[in-house]
Symmetry: C2
Subunit: 451 residues, 2 copies
Amino acid sequence: MRTGSISGKKINYDRHVVNKMINDDTQFHDLAERCKGKLVVAVQGLGFVGSAVCAAVASVVEKSGSPKYFVIGVDLPTPESFWKVEKINAGEMPFPSADASLSEVIHHAVKKQKNLVAVCDPRVYRLASVIIMDVQLDVAAYPYDGSRNITIETTGFTKAAREIGRHMCEDALVIVETTVPIGTTEHIVAPAIREERKLRGITQPALLAHCYERVMPGANYLKSIRAMSRCYSGVDAPSAEAAGAFLQSITEGSEVKHRRMASSTASEMAKLLENSYRAANIAFIHEWTLLAEKSGVNLWDVVDAIRIRKGTHDNMRYPGFGVGGYCLTKDSLLAQWGGENLLQVDTGLDTTLRALQTNYHMPLHTLDLLRELLGENLKGKSVVLCGISYLPDVGDTRNSPSQIFADAALAAGVKLTLHDPNVSLWPERPDVPFVHNLEAAIATADALVFT
Amino acid sequence: MRTGSISGKKINYDRHVVNKMINDDTQFHDLAERCKGKLVVAVQGLGFVGSAVCAAVASVVEKSGSPKYFVIGVDLPTPESFWKVEKINAGEMPFPSADASLSEVIHHAVKKQKNLVAVCDPRVYRLASVIIMDVQLDVAAYPYDGSRNITIETTGFTKAAREIGRHMCEDALVIVETTVPIGTTEHIVAPAIREERKLRGITQPALLAHCYERVMPGANYLKSIRAMSRCYSGVDAPSAEAAGAFLQSITEGSEVKHRRMASSTASEMAKLLENSYRAANIAFIHEWTLLAEKSGVNLWDVVDAIRIRKGTHDNMRYPGFGVGGYCLTKDSLLAQWGGENLLQVDTGLDTTLRALQTNYHMPLHTLDLLRELLGENLKGKSVVLCGISYLPDVGDTRNSPSQIFADAALAAGVKLTLHDPNVSLWPERPDVPFVHNLEAAIATADALVFT
């Protein structure tokens, strides 16, 4: 028995029960019956984004007030994933989120509107006119040393694309929403789908588009899906047109326009450049933070003074503890890897990769400052790390810079405790103890680090 | 005999005439007489900025409509500088400018209001309650190789500060407006003035402030001096207060507020960071430009798609030919040099210096593109370089990237001609011929390069 949920009560994994979820013909035919006459959207991958996209698409209503789409969330029948399916079917957002509307919308869609279900059965792609890929394609390993030693495991992602090709309707639209290495839509997804369709005797090219998300973690997550202008592209004109029409149909507010790019590589690059720019700007300020510290200058003041220059300098970053989260720590690596492996060009992204390296090492500077305050030897010093997630008011701890700091602090012998009002368990470092009474902790701590 | 003017008719340099400009006691006493009962502002250094500052300060009027300040522009009696004095006294802006109001204001101030004169006589500092330093402090040499081999010649600048200290009133305010290496106000200007005052028996510290300009080359140059919010700082509280009051007095619009920084190093750093940020953002995009070219992606489209993200990404730069002008090519070097030599810290500005290097080499990429189009050997190929100044609609050719391109093209044997509606002579490369009839040139050219 294994358990899957990281939020709320745990869900036990039972292979027999889960297997039934995949192969239950009655269940599939019931679902097919329910979908008759409806526009079905399937979302592949029920991670944070995929689950939220289910909610977003399910919340689209016609003028009459009735739901526009019937949404089927699909994930794998594995211990890591099956529980998300169960959660959604119970009317819950599978992940903790600062945006309460996500849970509300899912509950309403599953329990009231009855236009959202989740399954582990890939046959449901047959029912869909739009299939959205939200399957992770992660950097498996990278030493953050500015090198090009990036390991990306594409097997699972390619398999997911094949699964779609094996079942999809001839004229369904596939939208890749995952943030992917440049070249992925054309060089990984398209061939996988093409080959599977060919095995089924379908020679007509599939409608295939790339459209990246611009979700904003925090209290307006759901709104950020439906009200944000987006970039999209198709592998051909009909694909782009179909994707543009679908996007517009799920968009709140007719003034929000989406931007069609000339190729899937262009829209893939847009996403990666968008986040690389942010990461590079953060790294740049880190360099000046260190200079300002040495020069006795308060860089916050300086940045404030500069940010008044609207349109050119108002996005300048403030000095900080480091960079975390799911995008800024890795998207540049996807550009590098895709350029090198899929497009087979020498990317030349030296400064871009160097910025990731700088950002990765930023939390270690805080440890240096601690050494300045408490002495070179930190062994046995009691330090409270306040803030484990990577953004204010968010419980998301993925790739948090606090992790880099904690690892280094623990290695230096620091007696580390944690405090974060939004986090009660640190999945990445479950052994580090929390202190809930901050006042008591302050009384005995040698230092507090606010991240 | 040497000539000084780069605009309009030439002015001959005659040492005897010029010497008389310095030592003419009658002239000095007449001027002192004219200044009686007036608030006098002296501007040291009549380069582009200094001349425009003369215009800006002279244009300030009281509610009654009468001029608030009597302005004395001061420059050296050298062949390089004396002519600017003559030009201003003739009622002309010494430099060509896209902002016609500069000339108009100078003409009005000199000829009608009679509250602006220019001199070569340093004794006039005695008459001023505010002295603004606009003397150049340039990078004399740098190989743009990312190294720290920066040569800055401070002798002239230090001498200028001493000249002020030798003559200034006890309670006059000195404002350093020149863009300077961090630490300059405190470690170069303050001691120079202090020592000179000490020789005169004055032990009271001088009122000394740093306030950088944010002028914007182009049609709104003058307005950019008087309507832009600025940063300032004093070496002590009375200096900062005096500088803040003076700045506000020359500002158009009571809604424009100026920002007081905690130290002169902080405001010096603000200026350098402001321009270094811009330079780094340009270098960053250059890296992605090369990747986009190799990937068959139109990066303009991609940048357009990203710039819709207001406040975070809307200052993203477009691909370009290179970076020129007086600030972005050198201000990072002033931070590096000042940090190392005046504050004596290890600046760590590696990425910042690397960005300058990238930008310096950008025009050479255009030459690579020419080689792709015309073949490896460019010898004898006829190329028209369209655009020599460093900004659109501006005649300023200082540090123009066209210069780097032209040098490399000529070295490769290209038959280079020039076309620029705003430039009729290229002072930095006077030997390269212009074509005025672009249509005829197109007919025979192998390539046109639009910068």
